[in-house]
């Protein structure tokens, strides 16, 4: 299977992988197979949702982020943090404490991602008015969803709103602010603190945009541990003043479920968790559901509060952020002399940079480019399906009978991988026991197939 040229933040560490196939079984795009006792990821199918990362019992799936010390390559080190980062900490730890510890750790500036919402929410409302032909319009917020639509729902790519998410808008603003202060571009390092793998992939390999102003990405769980430990050690000693204003209630909740849908005019729906999203998109594609103006779709349950790199329980994070949002008053705005200006003071500039290129479909479903060839392969798949047991046991190293049949039709697997077929072939004398053990070893590795030597002694 082709691996594709798409950047993936998710990597499987072969040295740690025990070939348990948990990841293979939960992957919503069937992007994982087991070969030689290790999970193998097919890059053209992976949408970076991180479901595999959640279930791996030995932490063999990693999310590749930048080395923290990389921030010191820059004189001006900006942490671009999403609101859910604050939501990770218990109520008794204040935003001030968190920010002052981050400054101690080496950042020179801290800025919250959702500031970009002040620009974006207006832009989306303008956009939905102008693009009624592509309804329902789908939010471009969650990069795993964009990739999911590209690979699994290619007919819906034009429904994706071609506007940057708050992250990119805030990054452009920061860069402009710092440049305006006379800081040379090469001294500015903007680092995003990510709650998930998909955001990393989106930054390293942006869909619908050529470059990103973000210098690097730091995993949220890593930074949380670093900050929380230091906060605990110093019992809230130092208290630097945050240099960016407090987020509005609307901005604070933007990355939570219904954060967008509640702010857009028209009939809006919010759906979270990738399987729920898939189920819904199937219906949208069939036009079984119509008359919806805007769809907020998020890959994680409870949206970014449920990101794979979060530490705190997602329901508690949501509660905290909602509390923060409720306690917001316009008059709380600090007027610290070093504070960045309000993002709306660059509305015009940011609005001019807010569009993204059309998003291209890259279907993983097609059996062949050529329809006649695809029909031949489909007939082959159907013939193979007649032979398979339809129990989706996964012993063949593929997540379902259907996926094994497709692998075989694509020339990437053999029917002897099926344990049921093996038994029948053995019984008929068409396959030797040694051969079938060899097939098992090619899937599950030597270790798993070689340890049951003394079964009688049990």
């Amino acid at each position: 299977m082709e691996t594709g040229n798409f950047h993936h933040a998710l990597k499987i560490r072969e040295d740690l992988c025990i070939g348990c196939s948990h990841c293979m079984n939960v992957c919503p795009t069937e992007a994982i197979r087991v070969r030689n006792g290790k999970s193998v990821l097919f890059g053209d199918r992976c949408v970076d949702c991180g479901e595999c990362f959640r279930v791996c019992p030995v932490s063999a799936i990693i999310i590749d982020h930048d080395d923290f010390n990389h921030i010191f390559d820059y004189k001006y080190r900006v942490a671009l943090v999403p609101a859910v980062f604050t939501g990770q900490f218990p109520e008794d730890i204040s935003l001030r404490q968190i920010h002052s510890v981050m400054l101690e750790l080496g950042f020179t500036h801290i800025y919250e991602v959702e500031n970009g919402v002040e620009i974006l929410s207006k832009a989306i409302n303008d956009y939905t008015e102008k693009h009624s032909e592509n309804k329902p319009l789908i939010s471009s917020f969650c990069p795993a969803i964009i990739r999911l639509i590209q690979v699994k729902f290619p007919s819906l790519v034009d429904n994706i709103i071609r506007l940057k998410p708050p992250l990119d808008i805030s990054a452009h603003f920061l860069k402009k602010e710092l440049l305006t202060m006379g800081i040379p571009a090469e001294e500015i390092g903007i680092f995003y603190v990510t709650p998930c793998a998909a955001k990393i992939a989106a930054i390293k390999d942006p869909v619908g945009e050529s470059t990103s102003p973000i210098a690097g990405v730091i995993n949220m769980d890593f930074l949380f541990n670093k900050v929380y430990r230091k906060v605990k050690q110093q019992n809230g000693q130092s208290c630097a003043i945050p240099v960016s204003g407090k987020l509005s209630g609307k901005a604070t909740c933007w990355s939570l479920t219904n954060g967008e849908a509640s702010q857009i005019s028209g009939r809006c729906l919010a759906i979270d968790e990738i399987h729920n999203v898939i189920e819904f998109l199937e219906k949208i594609e069939n036009e079984e559901i119509t008359d919806i103006d805007f769809l907020e779709l998020r890959a994680c349950d409870e949206s970014c509060a449920g990101g794979v790199l979060t530490t705190s329980n997602r329901f508690l994070s949501v509660e905290r952020l909602r509390n923060h949002a409720d306690s917001y008053h316009e008059s709380d705005e600090p007027t610290h002399p070093d504070a960045f200006r309000k993002i709306t003071s660059e509305s015009e500039y940011l609005t001019s940079k807010i569009s993204i290129e059309p998003i291209k479909p890259r279907s993983i479903l097609k059996l062949d480019e050529n329809m006649a060839e695809a029909m031949k392969k489909m007939e082959k798949v159907n013939r193979i399906m007649q032979l398979l047991p339809m129990v989706d046991c996964g012993i063949c190293g593929a997540p379902s009978c259907q996926s094994l049949a497709q692998d075989i039709a694509q020339g990437e697997g053999g029917i002897q991988q099926c344990i049921f077929i093996q038994k029948i072939l053995e019984q008929k004398g068409e396959m030797s026991l040694d051969d079938s053990v060899e097939v098992m070893q090619s899937i599950w590795g030597f270790g798993k197939t070689n340890k049951y030597r003394d079964i009688k002694g049990i």
Partner: protein, 139 residues
Amino acid sequence: MMHFEYHVEGGNFTKAGAASSQLKKILKQLNVDPKIIKRIVVALYEAEVNIVAHAFEGDIFIDIDTEKIGIKLVDQGPGIADIELAMQKGYSTASPSVREMGFGAGMGLPNIKNNSDELKITSQVNIGTTVELVTYLNQ
């Protein structure tokens, strides 16, 4: 040339759309242009729901080749007395319970016409209705 068949139960709205979902999956695998897939699926969905909403039961026969997709829906049911009238936008005899489920706007048949290249409907009252539609792939 490939052939598929599906059975449709009258009155079972939970299953309405099953055949169009299956066909969609097949056409995606065959790398048919997404815009054409959309047309076919919308047309089939409406025709399928019409069997569920108005007839007792029916069967769907689908033929696919590299030139065109032909779909034939044959149902046993009340039939349509005046096809021309039924084809008009907004005409519906849907019962209140069907309307409660969100159907019955009288837009199904006009939608089928808009989303297919050829449409032929034949019907015998108290026996059943046959809907045939063709979509060309290379136009």
